[in-house]
Assembly symmetry: none
Homo-oligomer: 142 residues x 2
DNA sequence: GCGTTTAGTGGGGAATTGTGGGAAAAGTTT
DNA sequence: AAACTTTTCCCACAATTCCCCACTAAACGC
């Protein structure tokens, strides 16, 4: 389970540390620290899956009936997906195309989301949160 | 049950003592001193749940129909949620992102609210109370 | 009132986490 | 094939967090 929010900095080489809490979740939950990072059409951010979760997602997609939307989804999500193993310090290199897509510059936010986690540019995250706040205020739980 | 108001100070390392009354409530009520601290959209403060209550809340949210408001709510509440166990002195470290959100600086107010409790910056709390007072004056009970 | 207990606070030191940079390895270009 | 860029791997330092001990002040009991 990935939970909590963490903020780290990308260095000049384009590397960011995966928060230790998430690395632990990877290892204890899956015994395998490989992860897949890709785009998501729903938000201007990246998403990261443990290997096993990624395969499940892939299997679900493979089982679907073809459609223009599915093809589009695949191009966004599948084609940019790549496998990463953090270096000994727990960092991964975010490739330029994914950096551009998510407009990640220096400040990087990691947000746990259960089976996966999101990777945001800090500024985009702050903006998103602000507008979410306005929306969520109108949402009464009971 | 969490009730009453308590004021403690955050130290330079970002730690605050959970009021003893609340720690007791955690242990005797739930036999488990883990707690989940997160944001709330309704007030500029944090909220803390005993583990069991948090799971209930999570389950309720998971069962709801998707909507933009729900997604916003989830990002505010769920994504920042993290589990904490007080240290031997009964303190927890409030992470920077949550400190920023609630503008907690040094003085910290704890306010019991039944199944959970709120964590306020002292000054925000005082202001809130003042405006609540003005509002409540216009409210005749009978 | 006086000793005893409990709550809150401060701080030291070890361990963990995050960051910067150097050098080897791999991949490109001319 | 040489020059160059990019990626990978490793070492080292700095900052943060965690865990423990100790002190002070308030609350409690007799």
């Amino acid at each position: 389970m990935f939970q909590g929010e963490f903020s780290n900095n990308m260095d000049d080489k384009g590397r960011v540390s995966i928060p230790a809490a998430f690395r632990d979740a990877l290892r204890t939950g899956h015994g395998d620290d490989r992860l897949v990072i890709t785009r998501t059409p729903y938000n201007p951010c990246l998403v990261a899956y443990p290997m096993r979760e990624w395969k499940k997602l892939q299997a679900r997609i493979a089982a679907m009936r073809p459609s223009p939307e599915l093809r589009a989804y695949k191009r966004i999500v599948i084609s940019s997906a790549q496998e990463y193993t953090p270096d000994r310090q727990g960092r991964v290199l975010i490739p330029q195309t994914l950096r551009d897509y998510s407009s990640i510059q220096k400040g990087v936010m990691f947000a746990g989301a259960g089976e996966f986690f999101e990777i945001w540019d800090k500024e985009s995250w702050d903006k998103q949160l602000e507008s979410d706040l306005a929306l969520a205020r109108n949402f009464e739980l009971d």
